[in-house]
């Protein structure tokens, strides 16, 4: 752990005094932190602390009122959601948003959208390169399904899968866009103890593939076990940042959680 700390890898994501208000509610107030390349970074905090707001600001669902979001040193604050995916930021949703009526394989193939080129006229003409690209996309999507252990379910309807598997398909779909930063919104929510343990293993495997991870998570044992660094939010403000050990000993963090009765 210490050795990694000293190397100080370049940041993939930097938030600089990012703020966002909804009406009178200040959901994020001058939040700054950076996520180092190759790390697993966690955002924690009581309900309503602004974790999902930050996710939406990073992925571009809405723009920040103030402050900047830098991805690999480039300001992505003005980019649309899909442009940020093309730049290398992928995400999953808290409630799993699969395209339920499409097959599992097709879901992952939609994830390849930004890495494939066939347009409207290409699809109509079905040039040889379009066929090739389609075959390659199919193969790549199958590889990602294999990676999460669901290649046997490729032809099933996504909506028919049990919830835990749907979550894995969503992760495979996100990975298919070949992100360098993957945001996971409560990936362990709704999973049982065994699935959560498997998820921890999977997240580490994703990291070894060169993907930096930023997750919001309520499952403390998982978070403490896999995270390199943790940012703690409370009422839209960052109240602490550090290694899992430092966070566990931080009095402000304890107060925030106990104050909320968690």
């Amino acid at each position: 752990m210490n050795a990694q700390e000293e190397e100080k890898p370049a940041p993939v994501l930097e938030l600089d005094r990012v703020s966002k208000s909804f009406g009178g509610v200040r959901a994020a107030q001058e939040v700054s932190f950076s996520v180092a390349s190759g790390h697993i970074h966690a955002l924690i905090g009581p309900n309503g602390a602004g974790k999902t707001t930050l996710f939406n600001l990073i992925t571009g669902i809405y723009p920040a009122d103030d402050g900047s979001v830098l991805f690999e040193g480039r300001d992505v604050g003005r980019l649309e959601v899909y442009e940020r995916v093309a730049a290398g930021i992928a995400r999953t949703f808290q409630n799993v948003e699969l395209f339920t009526g499409m097959s599992v394989l097709e879901n992952v193939m939609v994830g390849l959208h930004v890495r494939t080129r066939c347009g409207f006229f290409g699809a109509l003409a079905k040039w040889p390169w379009v066929r090739r690209e389609e075959e390659q996309a199919r193969g790549t999507a199958l590889d990602w399904l294999k990676f999460v252990g669901l290649e046997k379910m490729a032809e099933s309807q996504a909506g028919d899968l049990p919830f835990g598997w749907q979550r894995l398909v969503e992760i495979a779909r996100a990975l298919a866009s070949r992100p360098r930063l993957l945001l996971l919104d409560e990936p362990a929510a709704g999973l049982n103890a065994r699935e959560t343990r498997d998820l921890g293993v999977l997240l580490r495997q994703i990291r070894t593939r060169g993907v930096t991870l930023l997750l919001v998570e309520h499952d403390m044992s998982l978070t403490m076990e896999i995270s390199d660094r943790i940012v703690v939010l409370d009422q839209g403000r960052k109240i602490a940042e550090g290694t899992p050990r430092e966070i566990q000993a931080d009095e402000k963090v304890l107060a925030a959680y106990l104050g909320q009765g968690e």
């Binding site: 992925t59 669902i61 649309e80 959601v81 899909y82 995916v85 093309a86 992928a90 995400r91 949703f93 948003e97 699969l98 395209f99 339920t100 009526g101 499409m102 097709e106 193939m109 939609v110 994830g111 390849l112 959208h113 930004v114 494939t116 066939c118 347009g119 409207f120 290409g122 699809a123 109509l124 079905k126 379009v130 690209e133 389609e134 996309a137 779909r173 996100a174 866009s177």
Partner: protein
């Protein structure tokens, strides 16, 4: 499996049309089948938009009418040949679709429905009131019959073949689209626009493309209509016609290319069969639509497949 079913579909439709063309000698049937073909074009285009991308157009008759009137006006007033008016008709329909779709499709929700509703009304008023150009409420007569260069294609049998050729080609185009990167993106938008964007789909662009495509297909249908009837009038492109195209899509089955054929066939032939009810015709027509929707909420195609499945299971069940 999918490919096989499609090949069978093309063969069935193609040979049915061929059979009618070869063994039947009745202008009325040729005309009815031509109308079914034109309506199928309208329905399949709208189905790409509604059934696959989940966006609704309540003014589809406007694009149909723009295609027909462009063909008519250029043909009658300027004497342009069909080979020149065809691209103009497609361009006008597509351009108007683009102008309506561009602002409304940037938004999520049913704004396209409102936008197209408005365009449908505006275009209809233009057809009726711009008399010097459109002939006003009494219509624009004297559109020449279809000719492609030296090749004359009069109404009746040859025209039916041409229209159905166009229908089958457009089916193939739609199927290619549906099973491509573009089609996957459209279906993804239907399930969740937010998730589609989060996966990297430029949702506004994808929706706009398919809307313009549907508009161009409607323009093509309008071109074929104008050359068949050789006369266009505003009443053929009013709000009720737009509703009827939506009904064809829903009755035939959303997100089903072959369903568009069923829906268009049923809704084109139904009024012909219902003449016997004279003044109660509209009532029976509405009643049939309601009944179909109650028993086959997923449309006729899905409904018939389900019935077939149930019958087969029932047979094997009683046998064991």
């Amino acid at each position: 499996m999918r490919v096989l079913a499609n090949v069978i579909g093309y063969l069935l439709v193609g040979s049915a049309i061929l059979a009618v063309g070869l063994w039947v000698d009745n202008y009325y049937y040729f005309q009815l089948l031509t109308f079914i073909g034109i309506n199928t074009l309208l329905a399949v285009g709208l189905n790409m938009l509604m059934g696959y991308a989940g966006q609704i157009s309540l003014g589809h008759a406007a694009f149909y009418g723009l295609g027909a009137y462009t063909t008519g006006i250029l043909g009658v007033h300027l004497g342009w040949p069909p080979l020149v008016t065809l691209p103009c008709a497609l361009l006008v329909s597509g351009l108007v679709a683009w102008l309506v779709g561009r602002p409304t499709l940037k938004l999520h929700g049913y704004y396209l429905g409102m936008g197209t509703l408005g365009v449908g009304m505006i275009v209809h008023v233009l057809f009726r009131e711009w008399s010097s150009l459109t002939g006003g409420p009494s219509g624009l007569p004297g559109i020449p019959t279809l000719s492609l260069g030296p090749l004359e294609i009069p109404g009746g049998r040859p025209y039916m073949f041409v229209v159905w050729g166009v229908v089958l080609v457009s089916f193939a185009m739609c199927q290619r689209l549906v099973h491509s990167r573009v089609g996957r993106a459209l279906r993804a938008i239907h399930f969740s626009e937010q998730a589609a964007a989060a996966v990297g789909v430029d949702t506004a662009r994808a929706k706009l493309q398919v809307f313009v495509f549907a508009g161009v297909l409607a323009g093509l249908a309008g071109f074929l209509y104008a050359h068949m009837v050789t006369f266009v009038s505003p009443s053929s492109f009013g709000f009720l016609v737009s509703v009827r195209i939506v009904a064809m899509v829903v009755i035939g089955g959303m997100a089903s290319i072959w369903g568009s054929l069923f829906g268009a066939s049923l809704l084109t032939m139904l009024p012909e069969w219902l003449h016997v009810f004279s003044e109660y015709e509209v009532l029976v027509y509405g009643l049939i639509l309601v009944v179909v929707m109650i028993f086959f909420p997923q449309g006729l195609t899905r409904g018939m497949l389900d019935l077939y499945e149930r019958a087969r299971r029932g047979k094997t069940g009683s046998g064991s």
